[in-house]
């Protein structure tokens, strides 16, 4: 059950809400919250719009031949392309929502702070919708990183080191998921895993910003 007027929990449940995966009580709680919260209602509208646009895109994507020579010729459809693709783009939509959440909670990017990270380059070779979402995510993450950098002096040194190590762990995990996705770009589980791992990184960064504010 989701507590009424709890934005964090409502946003976490938004994916399940649009997918119809919530139980009745949780569904009603989300509905009640959206009726009274303009910010969360805007996030909901954007997610619906993204899913509607995703439904208009092609139902199959061929992996880039230059990344996996020979594999593309041998790949055979494993599931109905529409359902896998829809789930994959739903994941991209979820990623875009996360990016928007980050943008709203981030800060002005200080002059000189890089707005692109290696993530954007690493996203090449993925379906266009995911590439765009990852590029947006990279910019939003840079904002949060800049906010944390501004607070670095207030953080215990060992915590800074631990945070950097864990961000490397997440980035390595993202790289592993992307590698898997290049061999199976329409895999819905991988798409969702990519989105949720990005979400995890966003949540870690937001947590640090919030706890040090």
């Amino acid at each position: 059950m989701i507590t009424t007027m709890d934005c964090d929990r409502t946003l976490e449940a938004l994916d399940d809400y649009v997918d119809g995966a919530l139980d009745e009580a949780a569904f009603q709680e989300v509905e009640l919250h959206l009726a009274g919260c303009a910010d969360c209602a805007a996030e909901h509208r954007m997610l619906r719009e993204l899913l509607a646009r995703a439904a208009e895109l092609p139902s199959s994507v061929a992996p880039p031949r230059d990344l996996w020579p020979g594999i593309a010729e041998r790949l055979a459809p494993r599931r109905p392309a529409a359902s896998r693709w829809t789930m994959g783009l739903a994941a991209a939509a979820a990623l875009a929502v996360a990016v928007t959440m980050v943008s709203r909670s981030g800060r002005e990017t200080p002059a000189g702070t890089p707005t692109a990270t290696p993530v954007a380059a690493a996203a090449e070779g993925l379906p266009p919708a995911l590439e765009q979402a990852e590029a947006d995510y990279a910019r939003a993450t840079a904002q949060l990183m800049a906010a944390i950098e501004a607070r670095r002096g207030a953080l215990p040194p060992r915590t800074v080191a631990a945070l950097e190590e864990n961000l490397k762990t997440i980035d390595a995990a993202l790289a592993d998921v992307r590698t898997a996705l290049r061999s199976d770009p329409a895999n819905p589980h991988l798409n969702l895993l990519l989105a949720s791992t990005h979400q995890r990184k966003v949540e870690v960064l937001r947590q640090v910003v919030r706890l040090t504010t």
């Binding site: 494993r78 060992r158 898997a180 991988l190 969702l192 895993l193 949720s196 791992t197 706890l211």
Partner: protein, 289 residues
């Protein structure tokens, strides 16, 4: 009138400075909200059967003082610091009414809460967080430290970035996450559980009520579910390159001859509860107990 004004000023004013011992009390309602901002060091919060908040301990060097203020329904305990709060290490014990709603925040402190039956919210950037007793609902966070909830809480939100997360004795609803640390949940009957890690090992041991949902996601960490042999649930397991071991007998099937991805979907007993596990490379163990 003048003496009353002086009493209010005394209670709202800083009680002591750095290195000083503190001993301050304030009347509190049984269900008061008690907000504690402790900067660094150690914070012990203890629930008791008296209608007051009692703060004892020693302020760290660099502390300007302790402020104990507010009404009987909402009380604030603040350690005032000059400069970087991380360098101020105080050692404080705060007794609160057992039914209070406790909200603790620290930059660099170990936080322990015992014998509070109300709601506990505790977060620290660096330090361990531990709640024991009968708190009905907990929300615990640490960036660099372990988080432990050993309480019969009906709702738990527990997360750590760099540290282990352990929940014992819980039931009802739980959301827990780690990046690298082990995530262990043992308890009673759960209605909803959502467990996430990037590379930590997830262990879940509990029961699922009818129509419960158990969702687990890991990139590289292994996942072990220890469920009663008579569990009634629909299982959906997917791992891109990990292995699956299932005490219920059914085996995963490869989804493609070109990848190692495996899927396992089966119903145990009469089904009803939903168990969904997704990993990239973490192996999955479904164990009967």
């Amino acid at each position: 009138m003048l003496s009353e004004l002086m009493a209010v000023a005394f209670l709202a004013a800083p009680v002591a400075g750095g290195g000083e011992r503190v001993d301050a009390r304030r009347a509190a309602a049984a269900d008061a909200i008690v907000e504690i901002d402790g900067a660094g060091g150690s914070l012990r919060i203890v629930g008791w059967d008296k209608g007051e908040v009692w703060v004892t301990g020693t302020l760290g060097d660099g502390a300007e003082g302790l402020e104990l203020s507010g009404s009987s329904r909402r009380i604030s305990v603040d350690v005032d610091t000059m400069g970087n709060p991380d360098s101020v290490k105080s050692d404080l014990e705060v007794h609160v009414p057992a039914g209070a709603r406790v909200e603790v925040s620290a930059m660099s402190a170990d936080i322990t809460v015992t014998d509070v039956t109300g709601t506990v919210t505790a977060d620290t950037v660096a330090g361990d967080v531990s709640v024991t007793g009968s708190a009905k609902e907990v929300s615990l966070e640490s960036v660099n430290g372990s988080v432990t909830a050993a309480c019969a809480c009906a709702r738990a939100h527990v997360e750590s970035v760099n540290g282990a997360v352990t929940v014992r004795g819980g039931h009802g609803e739980i959301e827990a996450s780690t990046v690298n640390g082990a995530l262990t949940v043992t308890g009673g009957k759960f209605e909803r559980a959502k467990l996430e890690t990037v590379n930590g090992r997830i262990t879940f041991e509990g029961e699922l009520v009818p129509r419960a949902t158990l969702g687990i996601e890991s990139v590289g960490g292994s996942v072990e579910l220890r469920l009663p042999a008579g569990t009634d649930a629909d299982f959906t397991i997917n791992t891109f390159s990990g292995s699956i071991r299932n005490d219920w007998g059914e085996e995963g099937r490869r989804t493609s001859k070109y990848t190692r991805e495996q899927e396992l979907a089966f119903t145990a007993g009469s089904g009803g509860a939903s168990v969904d596990v997704q990993t990239l490379s973490g192996s999955v163990f479904l164990t009967k107990r």
